[in-house]
């Protein structure tokens, strides 16, 4: 369908549109007009992605004089493929209506692991070894060698791509990763480098968060993006954590040992070069004297390290004299590693700010702040000079330099925490030194500064006023949309009491109380006997899950549950969990019924959908607060309080409730679906907790469902499931329209105009 939003003709590839999609587009259009940032919350299953894509591309089409680029960031490769598939449909529709003028180029960009077509390289097991395998074949010196000696292996796809030179371009169209690989195979060009090259010219780029937020990667990939771009962060409810992780480094004993090995290897290489090819080291030294501006004239295949600090923080200075010579630099690194080793030997938890830490390095190891700052660039240059290609082996030393540079660059917003052992297992000595970033706005600031519009959107962004404070920006539009439903297909409930009317909670003093454990068990037992197919349970942590499942097993509750449904458990092992999930789905499919025990903040809670019969009910046992004794969290809370005036309690509740909303949101993936959500903790009935749930859940949470006991919940569940199983009219009968056709929209817009006139 085709309709008008103010001066933009929007092309929408479906015949009908949801009313909330329409208002979403209107808000988005305002943000684009204002060239400002925006924050939009809309529940999952209402077609956020297609609304975003179709408005932004239509906006770009309607204003051909100012080309607009769309950078669409997703969290996973799977989401990336889904987005591109939607875009493909949209593009076909636009071309069909507008002719060839509507042709755009859209590419997805991912790591080599997902794009490589060279069978020898892509067979490696993890991402780092694929990267290293690629570099072994494509580094400039390898290729120079290969010219002289045909026995040196190179990558034929890369060679072919290089030979094609500037002729290697993608014709307009939408390319998923699959399409890119197919195209690369057909032409014999390397899809990875082709995609990286085409990113600069494409109208739409779909890639992962890291390409914009992690300064190490962003420096290489997103450097040349124009200002007139729209950046979209989809599923961005955890964006602050992504930002923080991008700038945090943790160093363990193994890292230091690996770094020591790396240093010895480098020393050997330096000796070898000294004996054979002294001039190379000399040339590097001269280049360093002139400054680090060398990055511009590097070969495309050679760029693989970039500064972890942010672009504007890199000073345009020359590398300090004491690390210009290769062997001096290695010696400095050795001292640094030695120092860190010494720090790890502590018996008590230590917490320091970057300034004191740098001062202490200066005292003990004699390395000053400026030297630290340049560690990463210097390492980069040295590894290139030494022609090292197996980069995956040099990860430890990279981590150390990463750490050094960050510590040397930032004086605020970070802290260094050394813990000799994990709090939960005080007997096992596992020292770890963490440089943790507290300020999410640091990593995302350049994105806000550089691009004209940044859209942050997700199904759960409540409370929506906290995000601008956390990320330190001013949105021109921030709105939360609710879902228009033809029937009440979600049924959230707050369960505060067990069947014996005693309160249930995972509060620290209550969680191991036998009565609470038993009440939770009875709740699940009652529920498995009235809910068909799949049930998903979320616990607050792995240890709590272990504890409660154990005691259910002892009291025989687990056995009774198994009579109704099979039980599957998420573990920290990815392979095991995947297997459990597969079997869970199978059990739901064949009618046996199953329960999945999972952990809030775990892999399953973040990325796996339990739609349709795979999740008819989700039970959230307890409030998933973060581990409040964690030193990192405490440090962050302190920072938030001092800098952004966000109270500790507010932040913790906000974070716990967004996790809970994320967990329960897994069951509803479309409007035709239905599901129940039980928040089993008495704390949910308190207003300060409950009000932080997203609007689309709150609007269905009726007063009568706020303070239930198990037997009442069972009764409600029975009624709800019966009601939902009845056939219904999908378009929404009567006055409340939930699917708008083109005519409906026109009428609505005209009505609106009339209202404005009178």
């Amino acid at each position: 369908m085709k309709f008008q939003i103010e001066d933009v003709t929007v092309y929408f590839p479906y015949d009908n549109i949801y009313p909330e999609q329409y208002s979403y587009m209107v808000e988005l259009k305002r943000a684009l007009d204002a060239k400002g940032h925006c924050l939009l919350e809309m529940p999952t299953g209402t077609g956020k992605t297609i609304a975003l894509l179709s408005l932004i591309t239509s906006y770009a089409l309607s204003k051909p004089q100012s080309p607009l680029k769309l950078l669409y960031c997703t969290r996973t490769v799977h989401e990336m493929e889904k987005t591109l598939a939607e875009l493909k449909k949209l593009h076909d529709y636009q071309v069909q209506h507008l002719g060839p003028a509507a042709r755009i180029l859209a590419v997805g960009l991912s790591s080599r692991k997902n794009l490589c077509v060279n069978p020898r390289v892509v067979s490696a097991e993890n991402r780092d070894s694929v990267d290293a395998g690629c570099r072994k074949l494509t580094a400039s010196w390898v290729r120079a060698l290969a010219e002289k000696n045909p026995n040196v292996p190179t990558c034929e796809f890369f060679e072919e791509y290089e030979r094609a030179g500037s002729g290697a371009v993608l014709p307009p169209g939408v390319y998923t990763l699959q399409d890119l690989r197919a195209f690369g195979k057909l032409k014999g060009w390397c899809p990875y480098f082709l995609a990286r090259h085409m990113v600069q010219f494409a109208n739409v780029v779909v890639y992962s968060y890291q390409y914009l937020l992690d300064p190490k990667v962003a420096g290489i990939i997103s450097k040349e993006m124009q200002r007139e771009s729209v950046v979209v962060f989809d599923e961005a409810h955890n964006i602050d954590n992504v930002c923080i992780e991008a700038l945090s480094v943790s160093v363990r004993r193994q890292t230091l040992e690996g770094a020591t090995r790396n240093l010895s290897k480098m020393e050997q290489e330096i000796q070898r070069f000294k004996a054979t090819d002294e001039s190379r080291l000399r040339a590097e030294y001269n280049r360093l004297v002139e400054g680090l501006a060398q990055r511009g004239d590097l070969q495309v295949g050679d760029t693989w390290l970039a500064n972890p600090a942010l672009p504007d923080d890199i000073l345009k200075e020359a590398v300090p004299g004491n690390i210009r010579r290769a062997d001096f630099f290695v010696r400095v690194l050795r001292r640094l590693v030695q120092y860190l080793k010494g720090r790890l030997e502590t018996d008590s938890v230590e917490k320091e700010g970057p300034v004191t830490f740098v001062a202490s390095i200066n005292n003990h190891a004699g390395i000053d702040q400026k030297t630290l700052k340049f560690c990463y660039d210097r390492l980069h240059s040295l590894l290139l000079t030494l022609e090292i290609t197996d980069t995956d082996e040099f990860l430890p030393i990279q981590t150390i330099c990463d750490f050094a540079t960050l510590v040397g660059t930032y004086a605020r917003g970070f802290s260094i925490i050394i813990e000799p052992f994990d709090d939960r297992m005080p007997d096992v000595r596992d020292p770890v030194l963490q440089l943790s970033c507290h300020d999410a706005s640091l990593a995302i600031k350049p994105v806000f500064d550089r691009f004209q519009t940044v859209v942050i959107t997700s199904g759960t962004l409540s409370p929506i006023d906290l995000y601008p404070r956390l990320l330190n920006f001013n949105p021109v539009v921030s709105r939360s949309f609710t879902m228009s439903l033809t029937r009440d297909c979600i049924c959230p409930m707050v369960l505060t009491r067990g069947s014996d009317q005693l309160p249930v909670s995972t509060k620290f003093d209550m969680r191991s109380d036998l009565g609470v454990v038993r009440n939770y068990g009875r709740l699940l037992l009652e529920m498995v006997s009235v809910v068909p197919d799949g049930i998903v349970c979320f616990f607050v942590s792995y240890s709590y899950m272990d504890e409660i499942v154990n005691s259910w097993n002892e009291t025989g509750i687990l056995k009774e549950i198994m009579q109704h449904k099979l039980v599957f458990i998420e573990t920290q092992d990815v392979v095991e969990t995947t297997l459990a999930l597969d079997n869970y789905r199978k059990a739901c499919d064949c009618g046996r019924g199953a329960v999945f025990f999972s952990v809030a903040r775990g892999k399953v809670a973040e990325g796996i959908d339990f739609d349709r019969h795979y999740g008819r009910l989700v039970i959230m046992f307890g409030v998933p607060f973060q581990y409040t004794l964690s030193k990192i969290l405490l440090a962050r809370l302190e920072y938030l309080r001092d800098t952004f005036q966000i109270k500790e309690g507010d932040f913790l509740t906000f974070d716990a409730l967004r996790q809970a909303a994320q967990c329960v949101g897994r069951v509803i993936r479309s409007k035709a679906d239905y599901g129940m959500m039980i928040f089993a903790d008495k704390r949910y009935s308190r207003h300060d907790k409950r009000s932080k749930l997203p609007g689309w859940i709150l609007s269905h949470l009726r007063d009568a469902h706020l303070n239930l006991s198990t037997d009442m919940a069972v009764y409600i569940a029975r009624e709800f499931l019966r009601r939902m199983a009845q056939p219904y009219d999908k378009a929404g009968g009567g006055g409340k329209k939930t699917l708008l056709s083109q005519e409906d929209l026109q009428k609505m817009v005209e009505g609106h105009m009339n209202e404005m006139l009178y």
Binding site: C590, G591, R592, A704, R722, Q726
Partner: protein, 417 residues
């Protein structure tokens, strides 16, 4: 549910607990009322009398019935119907059937309505046969063989009403499949499963069994008593059956009776074929002879025209020569399925030229009180009817009074002229 007693005992403790909470706990009997707030929907008409509250539910049911009749007639105005049906009714008697959310228990309610259904079924499909199967302890068991006598089925079912163990859809389907593949090809193979449980414990791959049923052209329908189960939905989708969930007892009755009228014929079986049938004579009351069905000496009954054996009831298959025995009224009663009356069309309430009363019942069609009565019109004779008459005409009468009187007056007119 089962905590009801415990809850009442703990009533005092509960009140203390709730002081710090919102104080919103209510007794179980209050709950439904607070949820629905039914008193708010009470309305008075102009003379101060209370209007019925539940017309929404009523309208929904009517709407649904209309929808069904519309959908069955949109494809072609005259569909071939399967009049000779072989229906297996599978009754789940697993542990879940003892649940008390239907009063007195699920299985008692099921049995009660199966009885009504069996009678209604034979009334509408005199040429068809039914068999009862029960699932108990994960095993399917054939309670009665295919037969045309409602009494024997009902009696067998009532004697076996106890529940235990799990339930297995696969076992039931396998059993039914084994029986149904033996019946002649002109007959319609159907299974109606009345399912109380929420899961199925199967010995093997149920998908394989479903595929087998699909290949054997067995139409499987399921009526659930608790909630929608994916596998049941899948079975119905694959085999072209209906899947529905009962809200309460009256809804269950409605749903099960939906299966009484014959379904449209499956295309591949819709070839015309000749079936040999006998029309036995009723024997005189005073001629005593031994019947083949009960092996008792009695008067009355019917005599098979081919082998002269005596049977008690029609329709039946002769035990001796295997001839299908029917009476002509049976055939005639099936006849209306073949020539259904057209579904009536909705009339917009704003049209003014409408007659004020329903042609059927002479009740006023104008809006009474607050609610507007919808009216419908026959596409042939253009008479207007109310909703109730619409349902009555389509489901019981099978003749349009408007068209009939029209035909009648025409013939009178021609006779006069």
């Amino acid at each position: 549910m089962n905590n009801g007693d415990g809850k009442r005992l703990n009533g005092e403790a509960e009140e203390e607990d709730e002081d710090d909470l919102d104080g919103e706990g209510r007794e179980a009997w209050e709950r439904t009322y607070t949820d629905e707030r039914s008193w708010e929907s009470l309305q008075e008409d102009e003379s101060g009398l209370l209007c019925p509250v539940d017309d929404k539910i009523l309208h929904h049911a009517q709407y649904r019935r209309r929808l069904r009749s519309l959908s069955s007639t949109t494809t072609a105005s005259r569909i071939q119907k399967g009049l000779i049906r072989y229906l297996y009714i599978v009754i789940d008697l697993s542990k879940a059937a003892a649940e008390m959310d239907f009063k007195p228990s699920r299985m008692a309610v099921v049995a009660k309505h199966v009885e009504a259904f069996v009678r209604e079924f034979f009334d509408q499909n005199p040429l068809s046969q039914i068999s009862l199967v029960t699932i108990k302890d994960g095993v399917a068991h054939c309670l009665t063989d295919l037969g045309g006598s409602p009494e024997s089925h009902v009696k067998a079912l009532m004697g076996k009403l106890e529940s235990s163990g799990d339930s297995s859809l696969q076992n039931a389907l396998d059993l039914v499949h084994g029986y149904l593949t033996q019946i002649p090809s002109y007959g319609h193979r159907e299974v109606l499963i009345l399912y109380s449980a929420l899961s199925t414990c199967d010995p093997g791959d149920i998908m394989h069994t479903i595929q087998k049923c699909k290949n054997a052209k067995i139409r499987c329908s399921v009526i659930g008593l608790s909630a929608e189960i994916f596998i049941c939905k899948h079975i119905c989708q694959e085999t072209g059956g209906l899947y529905s969930i009962a809200l309460d007892e009256s809804h269950f009755k409605e749903l099960i009776l939906e299966h009484a009228p014959p379904p449209p014929a499956i295309a591949e079986f819709a070839i015309a074929s000749l079936i040999k049938m006998g029309f036995p004579q009723r024997a005189a009351e005073n001629v005593i002879s031994i019947c083949v069905c009960h092996k008792e000496a009695k008067g009355g009954g019917y005599t098979c025209p081919r082998c002269k054996a005596r049977v008690c009831e029609l329709p039946a298959e002769c035990r001796i020569c295997g001839l299908t025995l029917v009476s002509s009224p049976h055939l005639a009663r099936s006849y209306h399925h073949l020539f259904p009356i057209m579904p009536f069309e909705d009339v917009a309430p704003t049209q003014h030229k409408l007659p004020k009363t329903c042609f059927g019942c002479q009740q006023s069609l104008l809006s009474s009180g607050s609610r507007t009565t919808l009216s419908v019109t026959c596409p042939k004779c253009r008479r207007c009817f109310c909703f109730d008459c619409d349902i009555y005409i389509h489901e019981s009468l099978h003749n349009c009074p408007g068209c009939e009187s029209l035909r009648h007056s025409k013939s009178v007119n021609t006779a006069e002229a």
